[in-house]
């Protein structure tokens, strides 16, 4: 569960973070497709290591309404036992082998995709063993019912614990408000977890973990032919196709509503009130992507220098953290802003936040705010690609969102081309105060 939440945040950061370069970024090489799977490589030779991210089109958006949590459990139990024609391994043997190799293999799930991340030394003997193990984890999980039941207990315990935490309760209610009946609006609950069985997991795996739903991104010390072989090894035991998958519903634009319909208050006896505000917005390939992310830097994405931070924290001392972001993906993602403040200041903080966002949508950034945002994004571009991990995030995001392979090379140009009018008109086109859902959690004073 923790990893799930982190992945979402990471997604937001990554999407802001797609960049490119004043000096040429290392080229992204596209490998030959194999069994419908795609793969991309950035070759970096300075360190004897390899980072891989496997994206599978098997995120929580595919959870059936009655089985919320299925995508997460299917992914998280991938490495809890393997049974294949060649090798059977218990969860303990898998964990010991990963550790013996000095490798990291981790699994995460976002709304759109399941993710397997592998980090290992590039020495061929170590690398090959890690890849073989990852192949089995991806394609041949056991989903033993004893382990499934144990993990259901753990996930339920984690959920009950999370329900005592203000940020979790707020986030769950906010997502429901924004996503409505779209699958991502459904929350994982103790009850929905209780209803999952080992055969549900097996079936979900069979249906969604197919080579034609996989993208492999690699960064590190391997050449193109080695990378091609690695990708083929990883997916070779997956079926290429399977039973048809019903299309996802369209995520509708958040409707215009009266404040009383849009605002939800949740009594909660924390010392701080937690506030979330937002609505559905854009997908990553939207032509207004650049005006929106440059504008959002000025509004609430630019850390200490954003307008929200200035109004809420610097001028009034109302909160430690206040932010806004767009989280676009393959599909329409959300815009969200948020803060936390002591309960007796909640109304004031919400007023300041509302006024600040409203002003920004109405009038856009000032020219100096826009210039500052562009200066930061352009001058800071090299920091977004200065190690293998960051490069991998970028390559994987470009691949997942189907963006041009030269996205990193044109990124600063695209930022630089954004005008004040474009920001203003894009914010007005996609955001509107009378469509914003507002959730306020805390003790009323």
């Amino acid at each position: 569960m923790k990893y799930y939440c982190q992945s979402l945040v990471l997604g937001a950061v990554m999407s802001i973070g797609l960049l490119t370069s004043v000096q040429a970024a290392l080229p992204i090489q596209q490998l030959d497709s194999y069994k419908g799977a795609k793969a991309y490589l950035v070759q970096t030779q300075s360190l004897p290591m390899l980072d891989i991210e496997i994206s599978i089109d098997a995120g929580t958006r595919y959870d059936p309404a009655s089985k919320t949590g299925l995508a997460i459990m299917t992914a998280e139990l991938l490495d809890n036992g393997i049974r294949s024609a060649g090798r059977n391994l218990t969860e303990a043997q898998i964990a010991d082998e990963i550790a013996d190799l000095g490798a990291d293999i981790s699994v995460g799930v976002t709304g759109e995709r399941a993710l397997i991340r592998i980090r290992c030394l590039s020495r061929p003997d170590i690398r090959d063993r890690a890849i073989q193990l990852a192949r089995l984890i991806l394609s041949s999980p056991t989903y033993d019912s004893v382990i499934v039941n144990r993990e259901k207990q753990r996930i339920s315990a984690g959920l009950l614990e999370a329900e005592t935490k203000p940020d979790f309760v707020l986030d769950r209610r906010f997502r429901k408000a924004v996503y409505g009946d779209y699958p991502l609006g459904n929350a994982v609950t103790v009850k929905s977890i209780a209803g999952l069985s080992a055969s549900d997991l097996k079936q979900f795996h069979q249906q969604f973990y197919r080579s034609d739903r996989v993208i492999v991104s690699m960064v590190g010390d391997v050449n193109k032919s080695e990378a091609q072989e690695i990708m083929q090894t990883l997916v070779k035991d997956l079926p290429q196709t399977g039973s048809s998958i019903p299309p996802l519903p369209e995520l509708a634009r958040s409707p215009v509503q009266n404040l009383s319909e849009r605002e939800i208050t949740i009594p909660f006896d924390s010392q701080q009130a937690h506030i979330a505000m937002g609505m559905t917005a854009i997908s990553r390939n939207n032509p207004d992507y650049f005006p929106l992310i440059v504008g959002n830097y000025a509004l609430g994405g630019g850390g200490f220098v954003s307008r929200l931070m200035n109004e809420v924290r610097e001028k009034r001392g109302l909160a430690y953290s206040v932010f806004s972001y767009f989280a676009p993906g393959q599909e329409t993602g959300i815009f969200q802003a948020g803060l936390q403040t002591k309960n007796d200041q909640a109304t004031m903080a919400l007023d300041v936040m509302t006024e600040t966002i409203s002003q920004f949508i109405a009038k856009g950034p000032t020219q100096s705010e826009l210039d500052a945002a562009k200066a930061n994004l352009i001058n800071g571009f090299p920091l977004r690609i200065d190690n293998n991990r960051k490069l991998l995030d970028n390559v994987s995001s470009i691949a997942w969102n189907g963006l041009p392979l030269n996205t990193l090379d044109t990124w600063t140009e695209q930022v630089n081309a954004v005008t004040r009018e474009q920001v203003e008109s894009a914010f007005q086109k996609y955001l509107a105060m009378d469509r914003m859902k507002i959730v306020v959690l805390g003790a009323k004073q």
Binding site: D269, G302, V305, I378, D386
Partner: protein, 456 residues
Amino acid sequence: MRYSLQLLFFGFWLISQLAWGASAQSTEDTHEYLLSNGLKLIIKEDHRAPTVAHMVWYRAGSIDEFNGRTGVAHVLEHMMFKGTDKVKPGEFSRLVAAEGGRENAFTSRDYTAFFQQVEKSKLSKVMQLEADRMVNLNFDDADFAKEIQVVMEERRLRTEDNPDSLLNESLMATAFMSSPYRHPIIGWMNDLVNMKASDARQWYQNWYAPNNATVIVTGDIDPDKTYQLVEKYYGGIRAHELPVRKPQLEPEQKGVKQVHVKAPADSAQLVMAWKVPRLQPDNINNDEPYALELLAAVLDGYDNARLNRTLVKQARLADNVDAQYDMISRGPALFIVGVDLAKGKTIAQAEAGIRKVLAEVTDKGVLDSELKRIQTRLLANQVYKRDSIFGQAMEIGGFEMAGFSWKDLDTVQDRMQQITSAQVQAVAKKYLIDSTLTIAILDPQARQSAKVGVQK
């Protein structure tokens, strides 16, 4: 006693260096300099990408605080963004942002550090800003009044509404009677409420000086040019006498201590913490701290490590486990084992479960295969950590602040590879004993949310 000797030595060394002027020591990619004002500079070249991390570390953290003014090190960290004679409040962040920089700061028990990450040609700009606020910080009382509210919100967010933090805070305050490690880094709320701008200013005047600072620059840099920049911007700042640090040694513990914390939560938690030795800068060949690090990893260093395997997967006593030990610190070290209890299990059962896992180590030792696994992991991490210039600067800073040298990093790695199963067994037997044990228990309470609704 050892601690005070170390400080005396430090003082003498400083004076002798001041008399000699700048000096330099280098390895292939790492270079150390001492400016005549006492500022230490460490440069680590890494030419993988055209970026740099620039950090200044002050050897002043919550360990240097006194009761009634706890949290002041962290509050001053916040105030460092409030302007100097030349740079208006908030301007520091704006100028760094304009250069495309990322910046922030952090306070620990042992130190306070500030950093910027920038494209390499911007290094001079951010260094100029950082050097300026080492000596020219100038904030008014109104700025302080607003910022202390922000810090109180930070405490509400991170601690008051967070049962894990509340439990940890009580654990530290119970384990330590006298050591300043008993205070939370962010400070007690009552001390924040009563803090004055003058407390923060005094802290600044006491500890923010070149002779209490280490500048670390990692990344795509030329060492000579970088040294010249540092000399230009920091070199003219005058050293001043630092306050005397009294040892504040923790008295010997004479038996088990226990604390119960009631807080909104669903699962009970049990934490067991033993006082254990840390690595001493003047005794870096002492194997015990290394053996304790490996013991923590054998217990919780990978998914099938002993605590997870036994308590979570087999016995179902716990839903999560944790073992921690950090041998590098200025103050006393704890070896900590914690668990979130599984539903229907009692604290007594969980404690018995932890003790059983530990008894297996003390009775039978650990397997060579387990130890080898951990040591392999450590070797691989040596490669992985070079992926981040920020991480490399962090590692150097943590070592230096605890009184070690970056040159000790290799020694530490080498020693870790030499530790035997018998040594791990020996430290478990010697140090995980009841007379130095503190037990902290989280007693979960239901949220009174419904009642809040009614009150409204």
